[in-house]
Symmetry: C3
């Protein structure tokens, strides 16, 4: 049940962020829905395809499509109101990556993969919906260029496995890792922290 | 046999439309073949990968590759003649999306999916070859921006399941749904019908 | 063991070539790693997904991720030195496509596919990492536009099956096909050989 609510909340958050990107590109209603859908389930779909866990989950369970459709309609109808909630949407997105990272790690653990690969699957689940969204919108994926985003997922995933080494139960580690991801993302955005710029030296030489 | 002929005709139509897009981008012979191939089988391949129906069908059955190769050679050799057949090619493409939508719905039914998911698979089969083609050619997919295209597939898919509720046999519903898709697409292009423009209000406010 | 060394060398060569493309696009460290990763294992991953050979190999075996991570770190640290080794990097890449083509053909043979489909899988393994890299970097894939690249893989693959018709053993055919691919690529680059230009007639008419 905990897992289920987490999954639905993440789906809503990602779908609405997809709608906003699609509307900036002036896509039509079908295009907006596809971008919202891909942003919401693209990372999990890629994860399931790489794992061979098919039919992919949204084909088997209509709840995702229904939630995304409702989120798209809501976002389009209240688009002018959404503008005043940029902070909320940023929080949705941030909570989303925390939640999805752990969903991906759980799937990796179920498939008996090494922690390193579980973290990779968690990061893919959380951030590759956005990568596919950007490719469909003809942009170089934003997470390859700026901001701490996927890096937060990786550090959060590492935290999960480190905490599991201690005498805490799995749920504690699960929630703590999500909070680590949310915390890193919030700090990174607030203080404009990015990955070390490896190109800076070109200018000073 | 009916299914087989439908599949081959759709493959030819889509491959030739792929050649035309690739040649506009001045791709070389290998690039043209890949774009034709992806346009023709990309939607079905994505459908099979999402379903876990692998090895994907064109790896198991060489007929698709042979048909596409022949279509590409034909299209390149008679490219100057093809120019005079824009209307025919549009019809090929339109029949193709009708046919492929139903192929995708059939696959969804075989996998015991809900009607909603069968329609999604039909739409993916019919229109995502073109999406992958546009991504490979570095364009925002045209079906996300203009024209009734995927929407015709969705309405045709809905028609199929509605007709099946009536006392008609499956083949009747199959053919009727294809005709619905072809009809909507023809009407939409003839009368320049697009999805409702949700951006218009931005200008009038 | 022979197969294993081949695979590792190809992975290193492709990862480093991915780093160079990513750095030209000024991606951040995460972006560079993903582009290197995708260039190195993208072709094989696409092959495995199309075959249904999942979980894909790099999820099951951490050696690929470790090799790619080490290659990325090496390439970034010694980037100024790498500039003096353009010829070596070109050779790495060329040996890589030879090796990967045969890896793909082997996988196709294991899945009892026709020679034609094995050659397709070999070409995908060797060249579609680069295709995915270019799409992620928002470019039309370079192998669709210029240079003999995939064509060398196809001819090499054909050579393998032709040599197998003769009374030579499989290892001889395997190595010979790799040398054919490397030879064609080297000759094509040295003498600026491209696929026949089907657009030339447009200018002379």
């Amino acid at each position: 049940m905990f897992y289920f609510i987490i999954d639905i909340l993440g789906t809503i958050a990602f779908a609405i962020s997809g709608v906003l990107v699609a509307m900036e590109k002036k896509l039509d209603l079908f295009g907006i829905f596809i971008i919202a859908f891909v942003t919401a389930v693209g990372g999990g779909t890629l994860r399931d395809v790489l794992l061979g866990s098919t039919p992919v989950v949204w084909l088997r369970d209509p709840i995702y499509s229904i939630i995304i459709l409702a989120s798209v309609l809501f976002a389009i109808l209240f688009i002018n109101q959404l503008k005043y909630f940029r902070t909320s949407l940023f929080l949705f997105d941030t909570i989303g990556i925390g939640l999805y990272t752990m969903v991906g790690i759980e799937k990796g653990l179920s498939a008996d993969l090494l922690p390193m690969m579980c973290i990779a699957l968690g990061t893919i689940t959380a951030s590759f919906g956005g990568v596919i969204r950007d490719i469909l919108c003809n942009e170089i994926p934003v997470i390859f260029r700026k901001e701490i985003y996927a890096t937060a997922c990786i550090i959060g995933g590492l935290s999960y496995f480190l905490i599991r080494l201690l005498p805490f139960d799995a749920t504690f580690a699960y929630v703590a890792a999500i909070l680590v991801i949310i915390g890193i993302r919030l700090l990174a955005v607030k203080f404009h922290i990015a990955l070390p710029n490896i190109y800076r030296s070109d200018k000073t030489e």
